[in-house]
């Protein structure tokens, strides 16, 4: 990773909600085509942080940000950055599966249509490719016209992943994507995420430390709005440098 410039580079990021400072000067590099996991106890700022990577925090009126986040060397908070183009490049999957109350097909096609693709054949191809990438094509291919809310939660989450992939993002942010799902669905999504890293840079927030150790290449440990430690996942989980990290992963708090 030392030879390759990072896909995203965060420098001295500070974030406030009103008077409350949620993030205290974070620095982090997110390597390309790897899986970076954020772990830490509830309220440590990891979800807040992942949401600032595609400027979803812009939706919160009281939110204020200092510092820079670079995507391929360009600051995403600069005035020149088109936030809608940014979110096309940096996609997101949420904690609760949130498919639109539309057909499965229209859910997947929504993103490409948003970005100007109208040709039916092209859309068909994108829908099929995205659903295959999200490992759900075989389960839904015969009823693409069904309402996406009528399928199971685990399937809905894979529909949401497919929907995010359909706009061909470069980075995929996942905010606790399996916390609302059963173990079998969780296993499927973990497997899927491991496959996706060949093509995408993935950032994943998780409460589940086994999950972080199973799927991620890099791990960042968050505590009270600081990044305490960051490095290769294996090292963080076997031989962390910081005592707080050690305490957290061994389950002494959090």
């Amino acid at each position: 990773m030392a030879t390759q410039s990072p896909k995203m580079n965060i420098k001295d990021l500070k974030l406030w909600y009103g008077d409350f400072q949620a993030l205290h000067g974070l620095d982090l590099e997110i390597p390309e085509k790897q899986i970076t996991a954020f772990i830490g106890p509830s309220g440590c700022g990891k979800s807040t942080f992942i949401k600032s990577l595609n400027r979803m925090n812009d939706l919160i009126e009281t939110c204020r940000i200092e510092g820079t986040i670079e995507l391929d060397g360009k600051n995403i908070y600069s005035n020149k950055m088109d936030v809608n183009k940014l979110r096309k490049r940096v996609g997101m999957v949420f904690q609760q599966p949130n498919p639109f109350p539309k057909s499965i097909y229209d859910n997947i096609a929504y993103g490409p249509r948003t970005h100007g693709i109208k040709d039916k054949k092209t859309l068909d191809e994108i829908v099929e490719r995205s659903l295959k990438q999200a490992a759900i094509w075989d389960e839904v291919k015969d009823h693409l016209d069904r309402n996406a809310l009528s399928i199971s939660g685990g399937q809905q989450q894979r529909i949401c992943i497919a929907r995010a992939l359909a706009v061909e993002p470069e980075v995929l942010l996942m905010d606790e994507p399996t916390s609302a799902l059963d173990p079998i669905s969780t296993a499927k999504i973990e497997e899927l995420v491991s496959d996706l890293k060949n093509e995408y840079t993935i950032v994943m927030v998780t409460h589940n430390m086994q999950q972080a150790s199973r799927v991620s290449d890099k791990t960042a440990f968050f505590l009270n709005g600081h990044i305490i430690e960051t490095g290769d996942t294996r090292k963080i989980f076997t031989n962390p440098d910081q005592e707080e990290t050690e305490n957290y992963i061994s389950g002494r708090f959090g």
Partner: protein, 285 residues
């Protein structure tokens, strides 16, 4: 002691609940008991599809077809005027309105619902009627005048319910849309609005119910000729205005014919509410 108190309160709640049911049953009983015998005697088809309303003729004629068509025309007209404006206003209020403006707009639309209908009618009589007479044609008492006025009168219903329907849509649909790079406008019109369609449809149905039942405002500006209007500037009489114009002096069979008109109106309201419930149940299942 506690049990008797609870039982007593249960009884009070039950009686309160019964009160509105009983009131409704009595209304139905009254209009059907007074109206249905007349319809049977005069002939269902002659009454519903009769083209002539002439209660003071030597041989009185009680055909209400012109009024049925009149009610349908002004109600459709009200929907054409009021529904697009109402829905777009609701979208604006729920998703685009600056908070300062909202503080004015919201009470204003609520106030619109509280203004007595006779005041609307008087306003239209002094403003719309001369305007239409001088700028568009006819004598100003017309289908067009009634449609525009009723379109305004259904706005608070359409706006209020559509806005709640939009606000009830989970925020996650919106965030899901913007996270794909969609603009605010696209997210509102392509995700939120379709997601709220059953609630918005309900608001339209209730608005139509209000329009078809409106009386006092319409009677002032519709011209009230018992004819099938052949153009937008022609005068029109609705089922409701038919009753209110003549009830004061009607006696005997004439009076029964007016109550039978109310039976027909009631039938329309039932139909509208059934459509409303049908779509609501369909959405739920």
């Amino acid at each position: 002691m506690k049990n008797t108190k609870e039982a007593a309160m249960k009884g009070v709640f039950f009686l309160s609940a019964c009160f509105s049911i009983i009131a409704l049953l009595l209304i139905i009983l009254f209009i059907f008991a007074n109206g249905v015998p007349f319809i049977a005697e005069y002939g269902f088809f002659d009454f519903i599809f009769g083209m002539d309303w002439a209660p003071t003729n030597n041989v009185p004629l009680y055909g209400i077809f012109p009024m049925i068509i009149g009610s349908i025309y002004v109600t459709l007209g009200a929907a054409i005027v009021g529904v697009p404006i109402g829905i777009l206003t609701a979208v604006f209020m729920a998703e685009f309105c600056p908070p300062i403006l909202y503080k004015v707009l919201k009470p204003a639309t609520n106030l619109m619902a509280a203004i007595p209908s006779i005041v609307y009618g008087f306003f239209a009589l002094r403003v719309f009627t001369p305007f239409i007479r001088e700028n568009i044609g006819g004598n100003g008492y017309s289908v067009l005048t009634a449609s525009v006025l009723l379109g305004i009168m259904i706005l608070p219903t359409v706006i209020g319910l559509s806005e709640s329907a939009l606000r009830a849509i989970p925020k996650t649909y919106y965030t899901g849309s913007v996270a794909l790079g969609a603009t605010h406008e696209r997210s509102v019109f392509r995700v939120l609005l379709p997601a709220a369609k059953s609630g918005i449809f309900s608001s339209v149905i209730l608005g139509i119910g209000r329009a078809i039942g409106e009386t006092m405002a319409v009677v002032l500006i519709a011209g009230n000729q018992a004819i099938i209007p052949d153009n937008l500037l022609s005068g029109v009489r609705t089922l409701t205005t038919n009753i209110v114009i003549e009830m004061a002096y009607a006696t005997g069979q004439h009076r029964e014919a007016l109550i039978a008109t109310a039976v027909v109106l009631f039938g329309f309201i039932l139909l509208i509410n059934s459509i409303f419930l049908y779509f609501k149940n369909k959405e739920a299942s």
